[in-house]
């Protein structure tokens, strides 16, 4: 009797401890975690869910101006929204993706001001947020390749120039695209912030997703989307913070 009671207490205690960890413990121990997540999702409920959110980052980000990241949260079947942010970055937000018919997958390059946790936060249909985390190791700042887009001679002609290609993968389409744009953060004196902020994705005139980007995305963004929707033909309407609009049509 006594034995089973103590076992029960132990079990209760362990499960409490575990749930505490699962609920509240940032796996990366970021000093600003609790403030940052509040800023991003308010008082919504969240869980740490690295198991279901895959985040790839380089082992070491040599070039802090171009750090490739790849997020795949396909394991969360009813994903509605995907938020990407970097806790310690000068510009914390990276992307805010209203998924609609898009897979919870995103690949792009970002700028980092220093080493920082990277988060991919996915909201499911119950409203619960799943938090995925990875650490970006970088010296930041010290840029091994100077940013150049807005200093190029034929900058005006190139602004908004896009490239793209679609691949059919197993049961989805992968859309790779790039656009010439300086993506100014606004943090350098004399260069006001100027970046691509809104992208609307349609297939056969039907909206299938919408994403907001921020100044933390690298210049001349290179982006990967994935969707099971449509038949391999997609249109992107792209807006920047100066009100410029660019159109991109791509098909397999």
């Amino acid at each position: 009797m006594k034995k089973s009671f103590s076992a029960f207490v132990k079990l209760l205690f362990t499960s409490l401890l575990l749930s505490q960890f699962a609920l509240a413990k940032d796996p990366l121990n970021s000093p600003v975690w609790s403030d940052t997540i509040k800023e991003m999702i308010g008082n919504d409920k969240f869980i740490f869910d690295d198991k279901n959110i895959k985040i790839n980052v380089p082992a070491f980000a040599d070039n802090p101006l171009q750090v490739p990241i790849y997020i795949d949260a396909s394991k969360i079947k009813d994903a509605k929204k995907l938020l990407v942010f970097a806790d310690l970055n000068a510009i914390v937000k990276v992307a805010d993706f209203d998924l609609q018919n898009m897979k919870p997958v995103l690949s792009l390059n970002i700028k980092v001001a220093q080493g920082t946790p990277l988060r991919a936060v996915v909201q499911d249909s119950s409203g619960l947020w799943h938090v995925g985390s990875a650490n970006i190791n970088s010296f930041g700042g010290g840029c091994s390749v100077p940013s150049g887009a807005s200093n190029m001679e034929n900058y005006e002609d190139l602004l908004g120039k896009t490239k793209s290609k679609v691949w059919k993968k197993k049961d989805f389409y992968r859309i790779k695209w790039s656009i010439f744009h300086p993506m100014e953060t606004g943090l350098f004196v004399g260069n006001p912030s100027f970046y691509i902020s809104d992208i609307n994705i349609t297939s056969n005139k039907k909206n299938i997703g919408k994403i907001n980007l921020y100044g933390s995305v690298s210049e001349n963004p290179r982006i990967i989307f994935e969707t099971k929707s449509g038949n391999g033909s997609y249109d992107l309407s792209i807006k920047d913070t100066d009100g410029n609009e660019f159109e991109l049509s791509t098909k397999i």
Partner: protein, 309 residues
Amino acid sequence: MKFINKLFLFLLVNTIVFANDYDYKLTPTKVAEDTYVFIGKKEFFNVKNGGDISNTAFIVTKDGVIVIDTGSSFKYGEQMISEIKKITDKPIVKVINTHHHPDHFLGNNAFKDADILATEYTRNDISTNGDMYIENLLNLTFKWMKHTEVKAPNKTLEPLKNKYIKLGKHKLKIIYLKGHTSSDIALYDEYTKTLFASDLIFYNRVAATPHANIKQWIKALEELRAVDYKVLVPGHGPISKEKEPFDQMKRYLVYLDKTLEDSANEGLTVFEILQLEKPEEFKNLSMITDEFERSVINLFPKYENNLMK
């Protein structure tokens, strides 16, 4: 047991207190008559190696000493000079920077009186980006960089095109190539038949490619391989008398080029490429994981651009 503990503690304290006297422990290896090489470690810049990761060389002639590349810091250059002085009392008259990477020119400011020569492209890059390289290496090696300052070459190699640098019996042919960077200088000493291949050759150590053009690089290798050398001094990795360093280098570049091209065609992501199984031959080369990742991240966008419309 207790003694072992004490010994361990003693050693630990010793390592902490005396670990860094910033001595590269450079030892010249004689590779041919009058010709010496400081062999660097097959590593990336770190606090332990202080940036001693590339090969530098010098030739002692009756008209003075010529130095080929100056390492990654003022301290490296200074320690090179003190090793050279142990071998000869001839003055150092010429210093060559084979290209603009920081492990090949940041020792320049230790060389006070010698002419420093490089191509115009290399000289410009050193003047423009030198401080950025120093800052990067400060992050990687800390105090090893003390007193390191940018000293750009004071002379260009262009006027010597199709000519030789002649010093004593030594007659150095300057070979202008590109591929590892936009301007790579190889030197061939006709007297000793020694070929200094600069960073066009990484031997048994995976190549660094931050400014590389792989197709140009392969072409440069084909040209340089034809040189009738007895001794090959690569930019990184051990000395060789064979053609194998050329063949290994080319096999790796062809593999890298083909992997990137195929991956672009298949629409892979950078990380999918990194997870591909590597050929057995390259799996055990020094720095394969790090350098391959760096190369893919740096070079893949170009391959994607060529493909996307």
